[in-house]
């Protein structure tokens, strides 16, 4: 009976207190969820092993004649192939081979947001009838990369699937690919997509989906997200050129040697060039040039500091809110205590023991906290960023926080 009487008498204060607590804990939960993502983002793209010098390697066969002449010579292409293989084996550097292009996909299930031109200054082409497929097709955003690039940018799949890099072979029956996170509703793991890759029809088997927000440094932009891309892995090594596939392999080889060299910060560019020249001497391929890309390191450190500044900012606002909550609680608790005091006095005069009265009042407080948890829970269910691990953490913190207040209140009673 006592509890119901108390609830009726102190209803507004009890509700106010529960609201204050639940609001603060919702804010705190969100802060924890944010700080976890900040950690993950820093570890993925901005850790110390990402602090490297980046150089871009491009071929210098810019004249159309020169280029086609080169591609018609099997001997030259073999040199190029061994040059790539030597680059990929690395020395004091890591070679990241990355290239993007429109990929015509037969009977594509997505809309125009996957179109190669979407979000660029090029126009969106949309669905069209493709002669090669004899069916409807769409030119989709696609990116190819080698294992080094994949590992350097710490790209991961949602289900933890791995690419069998050693088995990538474009002359085989199927090539495993990864799809950006936006594709999750369009295709399933195991689906086979038909794509026209450098004028060759490939059966691309979906091996997994990239984590949302997967990104690489590409075209001088550190925030190059892959969410609507099809990621095609490059083979580990370029095999010898065959007569029937010379056209395809020629284009592919050129695409593959265009990429970035990653070198430790203490490795001078002179040393790097020396390394490259040694590879050229061994393989006989000299038609390339190396460009320093200082933008990478600058963008990377400044982007990192933006993420860290954001964290500090959120931390300071959550601290300000915490202080506010503690002060408000103090006043509300006093208000409730004063109102309950008379009731306690009556119990005392009626002959109840001090312990009994205390126990009764602790029940009243329990109601307040239970209500706070209830409100928190109801709002939590509606949050889009639910995560059990963070929930456990914030629940633990809440119990500590509330326990501390609960105990101080208990002490108040002893004093009275």
């Amino acid at each position: 009976m006592g509890i119901i009487f108390d609830m009726r008498k102190n209803f507004p204060l009890i509700v106010a207190k529960s609201l204050v607590f639940s609001l603060f804990f919702l804010a705190f939960y969100n802060f924890l969820s944010f700080s976890q993502e900040t950690d993950a983002a820093i570890n993925q793209s901005f850790s110390s092993d990402s602090e490297v010098n980046l150089y871009t390697l491009t071929d210098t066969l810019v004249e159309a004649d020169e280029f086609s002449e080169f591609r018609e010579s099997k001997n030259e292409l073999d040199k190029l192939g061994s040059f790539y293989n030597a680059l990929n084996d690395g020395g004091q550097f890591t070679f990241l081979s990355i290239f993007d292009q429109p990929l015509p996909v037969k009977d594509f299930r997505g809309d125009e947001t996957y179109d190669y031109g979407y979000g660029t200054e090029m126009s969106v082409q949309g669905k069209y009838f493709d002669e090669d497929f004899g069916a409807q097709a769409q030119n989709v955003k696609s990116i190819q990369m080698n294992k080094n690039a994949f590992e350097f940018y710490k790209i991961r799949t949602e289900g933890g699937q791995e690419i069998p890099w050693k088995e990538i072979d474009y002359s085989g029956s199927e090539v495993p690919i990864l799809l950006g996170s936006n594709y999750a509703n369009l295709y399933r793991v195991g689906d086979v997509i038909q794509g026209n890759f450098y004028f060759k029809t490939l059966n691309l088997r979906v091996a997994g989906f990239l984590e949302p927000g997967s990104s690489i440094f590409y075209k001088n932009e550190i925030n190059h997200y892959l969410d609507s891309y099809i990621l095609i892995p490059y083979p580990d090594t370029l095999r010898g050129i065959t007569d029937e596939e010379q056209f395809f392999q020629g284009i592919l080889s050129f695409a593959m040697i265009n990429g970035d060299l990653v070198a430790r910060k203490d490795l001078s560019s002179a040393q790097l060039i020396e390394d490259l020249q040694a590879i050229s001497r061994d393989t006989g391929f000299y038609d390339y040039t190396l460009i320093d890309v200082p933008t990478y390191l600058v963008q990377m450190s400044l982007t990192k500091s933006i993420i860290e500044d954001n964290y500090t900012l959120l931390l300071s606002i959550i601290l300000a809110m915490g202080i506010g909550v503690i002060c408000v609680t103090f006043f509300i608790n006093r208000g409730i205590l004063v109102r309950r005091w008379e009731g306690g006095l009556v119990y005392w005069l009626l002959g109840r023991s001090r312990e009994e009265i205390m126990r009764e009042f602790l029940w009243y407080s329990t109601i307040e906290y239970a209500l706070a948890f209830l409100i928190f829970w109801l709002a939590f269910v509606a949050l889009p960023n639910k995560n059990e691990f963070i929930l456990m953490n914030s629940l633990f913190f809440m119990l500590m926080f509330l326990g501390a207040i609960y105990c101080t209140k208990d002490m108040c009673w002893v004093n009275i």
């Binding site: 925030n223 969410d227 933006i306 993420i307 954001n310 959120l314 408000v328």
Partner: protein, 306 residues
Amino acid sequence: MTLRQSGAIVFLLLLFSFLLSALHVYGVRQEAITREGNKLYTAESIEVRGSFTDISARLDNVQDLKIYTNLSEDGDIRNIFMRDSSRVNFPLHSGRSFIEGESQKALVGAEVVTTYDGGIEYYIFQEKRYEVIGHLGRETKSLLEKNVILNDPALFGSGADEPYILDGSGVHNAFVSVYGSENVALRDGGTNKRTNVDLVSPLLKGFGLLLVVLGCISTGLLVGRYSAGQNGVQHLQGATHRAVFLRRAGEVTLLVAAVAFVIVSAWSVLFQVTFPVGVVLSGFCVQLCTVLTAFGFSFVKNVTGA
């Protein structure tokens, strides 16, 4: 009201004014960080193709519309059109942003080459001089250090279709409802996309504001309780309930105003943060209205004995 009770009220008012002002400062800094990590755009920005004159005329329901056009291949030099320049919150580490009715001015990052003439800094683009009025980036070293924003209507093409970037609240829906969903693309997020800050930050702000409102309500109720005795005596002495209420309300108004003054001064003295007049006024009004409403509620309850 005893001295201790008045002290408690002042303390609570100070606390919630501080929290309210802190939430505002937070919002401003958050926006600066967001924009710096996203080439000055907000998360609502879109890429479109169309005619400048047509777009600026037909998207008249987007009050804070901004239209950008790239003047360099890498997108570092841009020209801007603003519908309302008071709503441009670019991160600047010195100088000021564009003001209404001003053109032929430039905002530049720290690495941009400029010239000085008679103590005035100029940026030269296509042999035309633009006075530099502010420097982009929260600090000198920033992702915007190579960026230039010009404010020159003459640099916008005439009627032909060209690529533009539009920014402003609800600009995507506004554009689609006028032009359809062709020729428009959502931009793929800046640095904020790496974390869930775009989700968490508005939630934190919302919870913070609710806390302030809840706190102000409590303060108002507390004023009502603490002053009940005094109010009763004054009524017995012949003052009408209305007069007593107005007297208390006047006192509360003065108190809230004084507290607002203290908080605003404290920010400017301790952290060199200044608030626009409109922000101070609206914060003051929100706080005063909530406190007075709660006090009025408590007053009526005491008078009617309910």
